[in-house]
Symmetry: C2
Subunit: 589 residues, 2 copies
């Protein structure tokens, strides 16, 4: 079966065969069983696709071809090659943060997560086949030396806030797709950028390994300015080297500049893709990972050539299943899609047809709901499978409490629909939802309605429960779009948690550390290590106590596994007005 997928940066040239075997040999029987079920559904669909193509009449085929041709003309007409779109994606993000903060981790294969599930792995570990979404215990079979470190979502959130501010300087409308992924429309900035910029680069050497980036061993250090100090963390001496770096005016240079600034600020590297639209930029951002960037010329032919040999799986929105579907039509690369486009109407829904055709042509997904507000909010937890209803109720209550907390922190008043999610011990997932006449908002409501749903499922052996609120009602528009609620939150948060107050200062040449207020050189990059150090101190204190459902109820439901994003500190709130959340780049079948 297709258990292992190497569609990820840093995972080229692995022995898929062998890795797949190890995975299969260590996959629990019940999970195998589940995978098999999944696979057979795919097989079914594949059979259907082949059948449809087989049985299609001349006319149908002709009609399909025409339909696609027309659509292509329409889409082609919409092609916009005038934009400079950038996708910046942090390298091995969670892992990189942990490596930054613990030098021991920098030279060994490691991953963030638990023996049950990894959030990501560093590039060393990827050489063993270890990757995000893989259970830790299996990864350990692939790579016995693998070190697992528990994740710290609040920390990653803070770091993300830090560097997203940089992007904001270049595009007031950056879209943060996730903590580590930013979509930046550079068109305007590039057009207006008429001069090169010069930055003082800070790099570190000496016995203290804490700060990044380091000066490469082989670099000639003689002519560099430096400054010695004692690390407040490891107490060893650190030497900071300074030199100037300059960035020109083109989009490539600007992207290099952003990446430079990110690294200066966070000590973390990222990769970038530059193209005529975000869909392409995203693909490009993976091309020279880690710590690289790739430009795709804004030229139709160049784009089509680039796509020609690109495996469809690299395209956002085409996952395991769509890949299989398309493969059954002899489509392996985006180029193949173009060749076979005439078959789409025979096999896929209109939306999927268009989506695939857009992909084939290198056009972005159809723009969708531009309301930046979230559409749902949910909490779910996995535990030892049980059908003991009392235990399930205990877990359920805790989940509702967490959800209610999140709702409050998210500035959500309530929602119209409540959904209960169940995962059976077989891994099959069910949802049960309910839309009462009046808006659900209190903990009591949430708990009452979802419990009602849960009670109807008595007797099932369950391994996960979740509760979701959707059709949300938000705090007054005005409020949510202003800064008032920000301050409400900010009171409870440490200074850094309110980075948005910096937005007026951004272009300035010096600024105060948002933590201790001290002034430092340069722009953002001045507070470079200073801020970093403050953050570390902060997050060290906060030590987030991984979110295990502490089920002390009875006996059986013992150990949930992976860390979730917070609990303990509030710092969620929607990324707010300035850094909008992106909702959709993907369209598919």
């Amino acid at each position: 079966m297709l258990t292992f997928n190497d569609n990820k940066a840093g995972m080229g040239g692995l022995d898929k065969e062998k890795i797949t075997k190890v995975i299969e040999e260590n996959t629990s029987a019940s999970y195998s069983s589940f995978s098999k079920k999944q696979q057979s559904r795919i097989d079914e669909k594949v059979a259907e696709i082949k059948n449809r193509i087989e049985k299609a009449t001349r006319e149908e085929k002709q009609k399909a071809e025409n339909s696609m041709k027309n659509l292509e003309i329409k889409l082609e007409a919409s092609r916009d090659l005038s934009r400079d779109c950038v996708c910046i994606d942090m390298d091995a993000y969670f892992a990189a943060v942990e490596m930054r903060d613990d030098p021991k981790l920098r030279t060994i294969p490691m991953a963030v997560g638990s023996s049950a599930m990894l959030s990501t792995s560093n590039y060393l570990a990827r050489r063993f086949g270890v990757r995000a979404g893989m259970p830790g215990f299996i990864s350990k079979k692939l790579c016995p030396e693998l070190t697992l470190v528990p994740g710290n979502y609040p920390k990653y959130t803070k770091v993300s806030r830090q560097f997203s501010e940089i992007f904001m300087e270049y595009d007031g409308d950056v879209g943060m797709m996730s903590l580590d992924e930013a979509y930046i429309d550079l068109t305007e900035y590039v057009a207006n950028r008429t001069e090169k910029r010069i930055f003082t680069r800070h790099r570190y050497g000496g016995d203290c390994p804490c700060w990044l980036p380091r000066v490469p061993e082989d670099e000639d250090i003689e002519n560099l300015q430096f400054e010695d100090s004692e690390c407040t963390k490891c107490s060893k001496n650190r030497r900071a080297y300074f030199d100037d770096v300059e960035f020109g005016v083109g989009r490539e240079e600007v992207v290099r500049e952003m990446r430079f600034r990110v690294e200066q600020l966070t000590g973390l590297t990222c990769s970038a893709g530059i193209a005529a639209n975000f869909m392409l930029a995203k693909i490009c951002s993976d091309f020279n990972k880690p710590n690289g960037q790739f430009v795709l010329e804004n030229d139709r032919n160049v784009i089509l050539e680039f796509l020609e040999k690109l495996p469809i799986r690299k395209v956002g929105g085409i996952g395991r299943v769509s890949e299989a579907h398309l493969q059954s039509m002899d489509i392996r690369t985006v180029g193949d899609m173009l060749l076979q486009k005439a078959l789409f109407p025979l096999c896929f829904s209109p939306l999927a047809q268009e989506s695939f055709l857009r992909t084939a042509l290198g056009l972005p997904g159809r723009p969708s709901s531009s309301d930046p507000r979230r559409k749902s909010i949910s909490v779910e937890r996995t535990f030892s499978p049980t059908s003991d209803f009392q235990m399930l109720c205990d877990v359920h209550l805790e989940i509702c409490q967490m959800l209610e907390e999140d709702i409050r922190k998210a500035g959500v008043i309530g929602g119209k629909t409540i959904t209960l999610k169940l995962k059976l011990s077989s891994f099959d997932v069910l949802t049960r939802s309910l839309t009462p006449s009046d808006t659900v908002s209190s903990l009591e409501d949430i708990q009452k309605y979802s419990l009602e749903l849960l009670e109807k499922e008595k007797g099932k052996e369950i391994r996960l429960l979740g509760v979701r609120l959707s059709q949300l009602v938000f705090e007054e528009e005005k409020k949510s779009k202003t800064i008032t609620d920000f301050w409400n939150d900010a009171k409870q948060q440490k200074p850094l948690s309110s980075p948005e107050d910096a937005d007026e200062i951004i272009m300035m040449d010096t600024r105060p550390c948002p933590i201790c207020g001290a002034d430092v050189e340069n722009q953002l990059e001045i507070l470079n290590r200073h801020v970093d150090e403050c953050i570390q101190k902060m997050t060290d204190e906060e030590s987030p106590e991984l979110i295990c459902i502490s089920v002390e109820t009875k006996k059986k439901v013992e150990k949930p596994v992976v860390f979730s994003k917070k609990r303990k500190i509030q710092e969620k709130k929607p990324a707010a007005k300035k850094v909008a959340t992106i909702d959709s780049f993907w369209k598919k079948e």
Copy 2:
């Protein structure tokens, strides 16, 4: 996959689908992986078979058909319908013994074995799909209430000795195929039996549940003689009821008589098959299990009709693999074999062809080496997989020591070939053998040669080691056929362990208890419960301490699992002159 097989008495009408699913869901990944490998070998062979049939030329097919026709004529000529062959097989043997000795077990699903492997299950458990050869932990999923009891091989051996003596009365040449399975040629006895026989039947009631058989609750007790006593085991009062039962002169009656006597003696039920040869008798013995018998008339047509719809898997020698092979030729029943016999030469070796044809005709397997002596002797143990050579050596030594002990007890002087068996952590099995110029006999020899072989396999991760000695050299023929060595053993054993001294008394009408010497009524059945009680006392004391390789060596190799036949008490010796071991009833591909 075909993980579950219901080809066993008491397992009809189960939901194979569901059971298979539970099994698959609880099968460890590495074992699944192994099973898959196995299955694909079968698939390959199946493909080859189909191919051969496909590609056979007219001539080849004609030649094959002729060859089979000739063979059939030859075999048909050898048909012997004059014999009264009986196969008697104890019902759920190990389980029945445990149930007998612990009344609590009689009404619940239980199995003999460990959480790693079951030797057998009682009929209640079989309703859940729980059966011999199934790991206990999986059985528990199929039947959570299942009680596991560790086996006690010495006890089963003793009980087997007891009832095999009964069979000896009817056929001086009984073949004990295993502890629970006897092959009795009744021809002569039935011919000479001119009068019915009358036995006093002993059955038990009262508060003491210990003794079997009980008088059925619904039976009218009024007219029965009885005698009260206090059970020496449970101290409750027991009432023994007596009545007479008589058995006539035909073979059915005689078999009923034997079965009656076995139950009177041991408290255990058995089932029997009666037919013109042992191959058929064996099949018949399963037909009315448990506690039943089935006669197959000595008539060619009746036999062929009986076989017509008999699933091939019921035939001795046709297992999982052969079944699959034959099924690929559309052969599901023995009747199908006859229809398709012309294909055999295209697919199977000459021996297999003949074997299958014999089966199809209801003829017994070709008689083979009538040397009743064993051909090999071996010891093997499973442990936590390791590639630590020191640990493997430790285990290896223990195995050699056990083997040497067995060899001594078995009256074997030595052997020419020593074979090392390895099972890798993948479950693949390897053997490595060696035939030195001079006979291997001492522990040192065994250990030295097999270690030599083991050393060549260094680095492999191993889950089982075994050592076998073959091409055996025995103690002088005379000795092995006499009683001298028996006495040597008998000294160390408790009185009952030497039941062979009874062989001169067998046909007598009264006899002394071989344990305490006391005289009791009737023949063997007199000492009925008396002996039983003595046995129980004895075996209770002996409590055999399951044979775990106590690997205290280092750390990893911890827990072997199933019980083996003894260790701790010697009682093996070949079944000796009077009850010969059978070597082969099965011939196959």
